[in-house]
Symmetry: C2
Subunit: 391 residues, 2 copies
Amino acid sequence: MKIESVDLFYLALPHVRMIGDGSQDTLLVRIRSGRHEGWGECEASPLTSIASFVCPLSHSACRPVRDSVLGQRLDSPKDIARIGHLVRANSFDLLQAEHTISGIDVAMWDLLGRRVGKPVYQLLGDRKAHPKLAYASALFGETPQQTFGKVRQFVRQGFRAVKLGWGSFGRHGLRHDRAQVEAAREAAGPVCHLMIDAGTIWGADVTSARARLSFLKRARVTWLEEPFATHQHEAYLRLAKSRPRVPLAGGEGAHNAPMAMHMIDHAGLSYVQIDAGRVGGISAARQVVDHARRRRVQYVNHTFTSNLALSASLQPYAGVRAFDICEYPVELSDLAAGLTVGRIVPDADGRVTVPAGPGLGVEVNRRTVRRFLQRVVIKAGGRILYESPSI
Amino acid sequence: MKIESVDLFYLALPHVRMIGDGSQDTLLVRIRSGRHEGWGECEASPLTSIASFVCPLSHSACRPVRDSVLGQRLDSPKDIARIGHLVRANSFDLLQAEHTISGIDVAMWDLLGRRVGKPVYQLLGDRKAHPKLAYASALFGETPQQTFGKVRQFVRQGFRAVKLGWGSFGRHGLRHDRAQVEAAREAAGPVCHLMIDAGTIWGADVTSARARLSFLKRARVTWLEEPFATHQHEAYLRLAKSRPRVPLAGGEGAHNAPMAMHMIDHAGLSYVQIDAGRVGGISAARQVVDHARRRRVQYVNHTFTSNLALSASLQPYAGVRAFDICEYPVELSDLAAGLTVGRIVPDADGRVTVPAGPGLGVEVNRRTVRRFLQRVVIKAGGRILYESPSI
């Protein structure tokens, strides 16, 4: 069977706010082949990824992503790998292509799973999906009081792990950060896992990050996430070796598997966090899973958007029992919340299991697509290169 | 003074061919502040970089590049660094932004140099520009005979170093590659430097690359360039340690300074090749120069496009005497050749010196901009986000 169409849908809230909430827009990918279709999502800047899909040829290593996908044979996981290689070889000078292929790869796995009636993790060779302890993932409150209220609510909902990040953290000085973390631990109680996400706020400044270690340690955080920008391995490593020891997490910015593997090898991470919608899809994420196992670093999904993206990011490590934590976003926008028919929800024990249905096991809600669709037109050199498809 | 406008011009040949010639299109950047202007170029996929400049906000770490540049104060090199940090902090989830900031950074240096009447390398703190041995950089001929003819011509023109790459190399088997390299050496004569560029053809396949080492060694090549994809450090390192020893070059794919530094640290390179139009501009390139000095790896520019891009890529290491080789593209398209008024040419000794004029020391030919301008319109959500500016 050949890939007959690849449709990109740019969805966004009517008013996107200047906050760290990545669920305010999305680029949805639909792939059709014969009577089947598959869906995927690319993380971040839908318009830019659309441009990388349709742009005119620059030279033989800078081709539009479309040219390496449309018309390709898609019969097995090997074809997905082949198409991924093709995009990387044909578009390696097109930086955005790695984000774009991410959603396409996810949609290809979904399509293949639906065609053979199996969930993606089984196509990856795993027999069983193991439940993961879901951590409620949310933004910090503006004040410690607000943060306390948020965490208290998550615990009441049954979560046994909570992560807070971004917002004011790292922006108002040491005392504010300590008060935030202490409020979170107080609300969480002594048993609940607590993770803190600094959202790269310190760039490469180890001293600022190190100044927070003592109260993070006192609050017994499971990890400190993204103290630094993705590429700052040396800063990560220096912080990882600092006292008191606080485990570090990072990797969501990786846009290909080798980049994530370098981070595992050189940044002193205890947890590597991979977004299938950025790293090159489920295929690339799976390579990182395998590398993390070899290096005894714990693999965790990164997901702050829809349940479609959540399923995609869970599939690569669903079958690995030892990797037993997952990110579970709890403050979804209307767009992200409504994007799927039905929801993946934690069980009474606070655990999430990847859906049992074929492919990603989730259904896209076409009404939501219609409601949030952004009409886009791109013209260049007298030709219309892109118009939003109909759903 | 504030940055009053940033204009992006997408230029392309009427017919872009499926060859490894990166000079067939370009994204030209013009920045205006007061009565001064500066120019820069971004490498690869102009439409995608335009989209990253104008795209709607996705969230607080995925903003359009424009928002971190327009209206900013630009009075000193510190402001350039500050604006670069701002773009990276505000757009770190927007992958293409690193290519886009590259041309903007170059234009800011050009503008600043013009305002104070100094060449960029002096603003970087270097007193003197040292001449570099220019290697004629060209694509392989389709046959060894064609390659022989090309190299013979470059030597007659006075070049004392020649690099051949891409084309059929690595695509038609070992014997073909050997014949190509032997033809090149025969035409070059015994003294001329000869470099071979594999254009990432072997992906991460060390065995295929290793099979070429014996005839590369016999041909006394100065380096083998890009045997593998940019992120494949381990493959690079294994090849670098293989016998017979052939020095490796790579790094043109680096899209930020830390990425290039990791390659220096982990890939066993003898030469690191940096394109200012991709790595984040002259500022990021300069960081790589400093790191290369510390690690005793030789820094070389990567340039396959216009003389504007050539000057930009030379400035970061113009003042470093020990880094004495430069890439000099000799098969420019009409677009790239005509983009500047006047040309940077090698002296009688085959050496190139960065222009002495203020800024980049080259003038953009507005007639060429008009001739090759691609009219682009981007609309989203009922708004026109971009229309090609007038020159």
